[in-house]
């Protein structure tokens, strides 16, 4: 099958890893966090504020804000835009991701 990868003869390999909810996931250079999660078969990494329904990547281009995730303790990062950097600690975001601030 002709794929972009076969056309350029590419054989990318994981260069480093990020952690997702404690799991080490391989990262190829240039991958977004959403790409890393999808490649590992993970489709949901956030729950909604109202009903706790699962959410993952939807538009994939930074427009819909559905793929929000907590990266290095900071919630509401768009997984489809944020590059996966060596050693990033990605965690499932529940609701606003700011439950610790509630009074």
């Amino acid at each position: 099958m002709r794929s972009p990868r076969s056309l350029v003869g590419g054989a990318p390999a994981a260069e480093h890893t990020v952690r997702f909810d404690g799991r080490e996931l391989p990262v190829q250079p240039g991958q977004s966090i959403a790409a890393v999660l999808w490649a590992a078969g993970i489709l949901a990494w956030r729950t909604t504020r109202g009903t706790g329904a699962p959410r993952g990547a939807f538009c994939g281009i930074g427009a819909c804000y559905d793929c929000l995730v907590t990266v290095n303790g900071r919630p509401n990062q768009r997984a489809c835009l944020v590059p996966a950097r060596p050693g990033d600690d990605v965690t499932t975001q529940e609701g606003t991701g700011h439950a610790d601030l509630a009074v």
Binding site: R49, P75, N76, T96, H98, A99, L101, A102, V103
Partner: protein, 403 residues
Amino acid sequence: MLKRHSPDAVIIGAGVVGAACAYYAARAGLSVAVVDRGPVAGGTTGAGEGNLLVSDKEAGPELALALLSAGLWRELAAVLPAPVEYEAKGGLVVAPDERALTALRAFAEGQRAAGVTAVDVDAGALHELEPHLAPGLAGGFHYPQDAQVQPAQAAARLLAASGAELHLGEEVTAVLRDASGAVRGVRTARRELAAPAVVNAAGTWGGRVAYLAGAALPVLPRRGFVLVTEPLPRVVRHKVYAADYIADVASGSAALQSSAVVEGTPAGPVLIGATRERVGFDRALSTEALRRLAVQAAALFPVLADVRVLRAYHGFRPYLPDHLPAIGPDPRVPGLLHACGHEGAGIGLAPGTGALIAAALTGTEPPLPWGPFRPDRFDQAPPPQQPHQPASAPPPHPPRRTP
């Protein structure tokens, strides 16, 4: 489609004030049509925060209208659907130092005499009310009568409840008058609407509508920005602001003023208002205004320093030189009524305004004396004697002194 039926009144403006006028006029048994060049809440209403405040008003006619309106909002909250997001959350005004606290105390004493509940909160108790509040504040006052609504929803639901005939996206191009000078309706690009009374609820654009009807009303725009944060759990319980906001509201300066009013919303985002500046209808974004709001909000609530701002919005408050709205029949033009110029308080003052206008339209006793709100009070010369008194026009009420 041509409607043969003529309403009892045409209301120009589908913001919250026009909607409240429609609601109370309909409740008084009148049929009304509402015309707006844009959508519902497309002007200042849609750019507001939904403040229903008594706390920022000194004793006087505006406070009397705010107290009347606060009671009416409580009644409306029971009949309007849940999306209006009415919250009787109360306000908390904080003083950074003893000097500000002394001034705030004197201000609150005057308000109490006028019927406002203002509860002393000493420095130690502030954090029981607002755990995230910055340390080191001198004290404050809690105003349980302050409340909040979602302003666009409030306008839309009031309009729906009024049953008013709606003409949106139709700019009024003329206010029609008969040979005697009395108003007999309005013209839009699509139709003529005949009515014995026309209510100018065009907010910041009320001066233009008044001009179309042959009357002068010096409404000026006063721009304001609001910051919207990412959704948060409840981190701010009340409407919280620093005492200098009151001075900003009362100021007539054209220069940029800002004092953060911080509040949570049922949807999650925290809203941070409000700047005030007189720059005409300039829609350009002012990074300085946004910067100041962010700095002041973070000074009040340090926790907000690490919270992301999603967006900002801005609008134009309808400003009259004495900071009071123009409400009631215009003695210069029979059949013309005004309900505009509420500056930053239009959401809060809308029901009282609507009740006053309904009283004017039906010739019944108004719930408040409207002397201070007379639309012709800015005229240089004393108002001329009215030569005409057509039967269809609302009877002018004699101005009375406010208690």
